[in-house]
Symmetry: C2
Subunit: 382 residues, 2 copies
């Protein structure tokens, strides 16, 4: 039986899970609270891949504090794993620690776990409750669950524009439509992603760094450029020694060797309507364990991503300005009527300095993801 108190602790655990936002990929962001008699005994969150999982971190903190956790309740934002991966199974660690009860937020969609963690705990005589707060837990790990359940990463598209949707003046001037707080927030989104994706048009026009500033990250995202005709200049600023993927349809051994010297890997891709096939690129990325993609591109690629139906979320910064003229944010070609529009829904709106940050989700994609992980839990509708 799940009580209101369980919901409160689980929400606290989900907040703690955000501590892993920039570090745990390709593993999900997970947190664990150990609670007894309304007291938090210890807590932990997932470390970098290969490092300890949340449950192990929490048990370690309990040991350091000299706290006995036997009989305590463990709140875990994901079903404890039951298999030997890079680390031993967490379910075994909870059994060994003498957990009295385990409350989990979501079943692990990893086919190697998928309910077996909960079963392992129950067989050891532990009370197990869940799922709980599924929508909130899914939002933190949408990329992980998307990769696991649909074999395609979760992709958000970052845009910055005036209130009337202009990303730059007609001559291209755009520095800066939005202010420093909005730009800094954009770096947080880059930092949490596995891949920062852009197009060769943007690289050639603006020569952007496409790196993470404003946030320190031990795990910088991989850069990726869609470059159908392999026009990427090996001297481009974004080739700063960190890993870069270049998706192209043209082979050019000499150019590829120059790019390889800059740590840029050229990946051949099929064409779709004369351009690198976006869906094939995303499929390939899922195979590389990419959970989340931060797309930050010009109107052409942004429009192509929407046309391809692969945009899961919008991350839009709106400046309190009316420019009246200038470039749009997305050149969509496939639109035949208003009913044809991708169905987004607003999920969060807030001010960053003078600018507005708007988050919107592709509703069908989200609903499908929620269904794939077993649907919402009652506590999601309070």
């Amino acid at each position: 039986m799940v009580e209101q108190e369980d919901v409160i602790w689980m929400r606290q655990a989900l907040e703690l899970a955000e501590k892993s936002l920039y570090i745990s990929a390709p593993n999900p962001r997970v947190a664990c609270l150990i609670v007894r008699d309304g007291q938090l005994l210890a807590s932990g969150s997932t470390q970098q891949a290969g490092g300890p999982h949340a449950e192990v971190m929490a048990l370690q903190q309990a040991r350091e504090r000299g706290v006995n956790v036997a009989g305590a309740t463990f709140y875990v934002t994901l079903e404890p794993c039951s298999h030997h991966g890079r680390t031993p199974p967490c379910a075994d660690a909870l059994v060994k620690a003498g957990a009295g009860r385990v409350v989990f937020s979501m079943y692990d969609p990893n086919p190697l776990v998928a309910g077996r963690g909960a079963t392992r705990l129950r067989q050891a005589g532990i009370t197990v409750d869940g799922p709980l707060c599924v929508e909130q837990a899914l939002a933190i790990n949408a990329g992980f669950f998307a990769r696991m359940t649909r074999s395609r990463p979760w992709l958000w598209m970052k845009m910055a524009a005036s209130l009337d949707g202009r990303s730059a003046l007609p001559d291209g001037r755009s520095q800066w439509i939005t202010g420093p707080q909005a730009r800094d927030d954009g770096h947080h989104w880059r930092a949490r992603s596995c891949v920062v994706l852009t197009g060769i048009g943007t690289v050639n026009a603006d020569n952007p760094l496409m790196n993470v500033r404003a946030v320190s990250t031990p795990r910088p995202p991989i850069k990726a450029v869609l470059d159908t005709h392999l026009r990427l200049d090996p001297k481009a600023a974004l080739l700063d020694g960190t890993q870069c993927w270049v998706f192209t349809h043209r082979r050019d051994p000499e150019r590829e060797a120059q790019l390889a010297d800059r740590n840029a890997l050229v990946i051949p891709m099929p064409l779709h309507e004369g351009q690198v096939d976006v869906r094939a690129v995303l499929d390939w990325m899922a195979e590389q364990q990419v959970n989340e993609i931060h797309a930050e591109a010009g109107a052409r690629l942004s429009g192509a991503l929407i046309d391809a139906g692969v945009v899961d979320q919008l991350l839009m910064y709106l400046a309190p300005k009316i420019l009246g003229q200038g470039r749009g944010v997305a050149d969509i070609t496939a639109l035949s009527g208003l009913d044809d529009v991708e169905p987004f829904e607003f999920t969060d709106v807030r001010l960053f300095g003078a600018d507005l940050r708007v988050l919107a989700r592709q509703r069908d994609h989200w609903d499908a993801l929620l269904q794939a992980v077993g649907g919402a839990s009652p506590s999601d509708f309070e």
Copy 2:
């Protein structure tokens, strides 16, 4: 001395003043609370022009309740009037009622009052405190104060667009970019305005009603059309018998007579760059005691209003859609660079159904208005 308790009561009075939003123009929306020992004895708000002011309404309610208000504190959102207008001076009524103390929000900018109301009360031995919560009070009556202090009404521009600033598909289809809740809210804004302003282009293209639906109003706004070449069809749907102003540069006695039959008054105006001079129109409206103008027009007139520097506020509904192509909301011609942009600032953002409503104020216009009424009061900065 103003206490925290005074701020709380004044805010309650300001909320009550919103009851007059759709009825009191050209008079300001004002409320009065009568309070003693932390107890609300009676309250009232301004009625239709010519009807009782807020103070009189509150005193009347106190009488009906058989409550003695002698020595009580009166919270009034505007300095009580001291002159004989359509009704006798409220300051005299407060003196006669034996008010112990009067707290007011703003000085009345009407040169016939302008501090004399407060003086009259003090001369009668009443303690008078204020101004208080000036920014909030100004927001409710921006139009009244704009007309009084700068002889130009307060103008907001209503727009509805996709998240990327498209008000319609390229072929003009726009029904409906935003949903029913957003459209209903738009009618509240029409209802509170004195004039609903549009351009002949919109009238000829869409034949809109431009009336107030979704809200019942005893005082429908006057319709106004900018129509440089007097092309308005006397059979246009917006000519439904309610008053309409047609601003033009062309005289055509026959057309004017036809329009007059439909209760449309043709007003000749000078030209500015080949179009009816917007500033001259607004000056004329101020002389007709117009406080607030709700501009709802196509991209051409909206752009002209911004070019003319007369937009005080944006009322924008954003649908969670990316159209990618289609019409913009404002054709601005005078923009030479990003520094040239009108300086708006977001003041309120909220969801109406699936859509976002964004309010933004022209910062310089607001600051000037605030200065003109004497500046902010300390309680505005909590």
